[in-house]
């Protein structure tokens, strides 16, 4: 009985870890899809415009975003070599990384919220290696959830 109990604990622990690793893998797949979509979009835009966008109108990855109300007073100190910054905000703000921006731009085909049309799903599946395809399907409710066999 004691051994069964230990095995039961071990089983629960492993199930927890597998669940956490599955969501980590799905996040990595989303990031791969979002980045490939972004590169494709920019390539098409530049081909249509026949020139790259003005350098001061684009932000290359990686970056992070800090957004706050326009009413917020921000006190900013910068070292001469720009290696150190100190910001004092008098009101709340939010920090997001670049992948969050790509998701909000729709570059992850809606997979991050589990809402993607069959066309989007087709695009997403075409952007990931075959071995990872089942994880893409698994993110859209209504399709067969990817049962970890």
């Amino acid at each position: 009985a004691q051994e069964c109990q230990n095995l039961e604990v071990e089983r629960q622990r492993r199930l927890e870890r597998i669940k956490q690793k599955q969501s980590q893998l799905q996040e990595l797949i989303l990031q791969q899809i979002a980045f490939k979509n972004l590169v494709q979009r920019n390539r098409q835009t530049e081909q249509q415009a026949n020139r790259p966008p003005p350098p001061n109108s684009i932000i290359h990855l990686p970056f992070i975003i800090v957004n706050t109300s326009k009413k917020t007073v921000i006190d900013c100190s910068i070292s001469n070599d720009k290696f150190e910054y100190l910001f004092n905000f008098d009101s709340m703000f939010e920090i997001h990384d670049d992948i969050e921006v790509l998701k909000r731009m729709g570059m992850a085909c809606g997979l991050e919220v589990g809402k993607c049309s069959p066309e989007d799903l087709k695009v997403a599946r075409s952007l990931v290696p075959k071995a990872l395809e089942p994880y893409v399907i698994g993110q859209c409710p209504g399709w067969d959830r990817f049962i970890w066999s």
Binding site: Q31, P62, I74, E94, H96, I99
Partner: protein, 48 residues
């Protein structure tokens, strides 16, 4: 007072790195507002 450290400057990888920071700022905003209501108005900082 709480403080959080995170490494930036890398490309993708971890997700929701800033979730805890945003929660900390968000939650203490409410308590900060409460103390403001009670205490004196903070000295205005230099405008950016």
């Amino acid at each position: 007072r709480s403080r959080m450290l995170v490494s930036i400057g890398e490309s993708f990888g971890l997700s929701n790195r800033f979730q805890k920071i945003n929660q900390m700022v968000n939650s203490s905003e409410r308590s900060f507002k409460r103390t403001l209501d009670l205490g004196s108005a903070p000295k205005p900082l230099k405008r950016l």
